[in-house]
Symmetry: C2
Subunit: 215 residues, 2 copies
């Protein structure tokens, strides 16, 4: 045998892999999935297109990995908050705030991933990831209900609603307006307060459906 990977080589390969992931992340953060073709990723990484396939079996799997890594980090942060000190309400506020702040000071792209569509494989990964995000909030809610801070409620639904609420507020029609720091702070606070109110007991009694007026 005349060739075996040296430690140095091993390292270089690993670093190449990282560079590809970073390039993909970068492109997606800039222009979304649409802009992140294999050729573009390769160019961004300073490599040929062909080499991408030496490191990743397909475009879909590359993107699944980028997604998983980006959101995995996000989940770690949220979990730390969820398991931290303070009342459930405080932790919920802090968790939403943490995610929102980082998303708004992008290009952090975790949120772009959460909202954007792609190949079926990536879609599946995205759903899993949203589920994981929801699970973090479910934990907080569970504790809050047990402690009597929050009223009894459908945990799955509330968790999904929380994720949906801040995601929409971040990627929806109003987000682009919040370019100035001041607006960002305001938006962050609004979102957090919305979420906290949403899981806390209201002053009034449960609502009964209203009738629509004939138009």
């Amino acid at each position: 045998m005349a060739y075996r990977r040296s430690a140095l080589m091993e390292e270089r390969l690993a670093s190449n892999r990282e560079r590809i992931l970073a390039a993909a992340r970068q492109l997606i953060a800039q222009g979304g999935y649409r802009e992140a073709q294999i050729a573009a990723v390769a160019a961004e990484a300073g490599m040929s297109t062909g080499v991408i396939y030496r490191y990743f079996p397909s475009k879909a799997e590359l993107f699944v990995e980028v997604l998983t890594a980006a959101v995995g980090h996000e989940i770690e942060l949220l979990k730390a908050i969820a398991e931290g000190s303070g009342s459930a309400e405080q932790r919920l506020y802090a968790a939403v705030e943490s995610f929102t702040r980082r998303a708004l000071s992008g290009p952090n792209l975790a949120y772009a991933f959460i909202a954007e569509p792609a190949e079926p494989e990536v879609d599946i990964a995205r759903i899993r990831v949203r589920q994981q995000l929801g699970d973090v909030f479910k934990t907080i809610l569970q504790q809050g209900i047990k402690a009597g801070e929050f009223p009894a409620q459908d945990l799955d639904a509330s968790a999904a609603c929380i994720v949906g609420a801040y995601t929409e507020a971040l990627v929806g029609p109003i987000a682009p307006r919040a370019e100035r720091i001041k607006d960002r702070d305001r938006l962050t606070r609004s979102i957090c307060e919305f979420c906290v109110r949403a899981v806390s007991a209201p002053l009034t009694a449960p609502a009964a459906p209203a009738k629509a007026r004939k138009r």
Copy 2:
């Protein structure tokens, strides 16, 4: 001249147009945007692919029209509720419930549109449409705050959060579970209550951020 469109012919053409729109709607409701290629739409409508382009300049414009029509209808219904009788809280509940119910008893697909991605042109239309949905809720919120039912809050953010909350709960990970009617009812109620709580004053004081525990 030996040919001029008769009224009957005019009608037939209009009905063809409708059939194309219906076919596209149908396919999207079934399998999402991905399944709705021009060839498939034509087949579904019982026509040749070429004829689609006699009625619509491009795939994107066809889908924009389908989206606009589907959600336009939805908006009408929501507006009727928003302008109806009852307290703001009741109307908010009713509006969310109305949308949710129809979405869950699909193939109503309005919600599929709201969540799914596509060509840039369709994306733009989708953002506009979400904005419109938000506006309906903004109206209700405005009235509720004025009447002292709801606390002062960021209208744009709250409206966006409401739209995001029920959308996520409808298309996210938990929706597929709600196949049985009973689950659907439960999910609907959970979502509505979440949204109502979210804009109503909580019992507790505004939350302060909590510190994350070192992991």
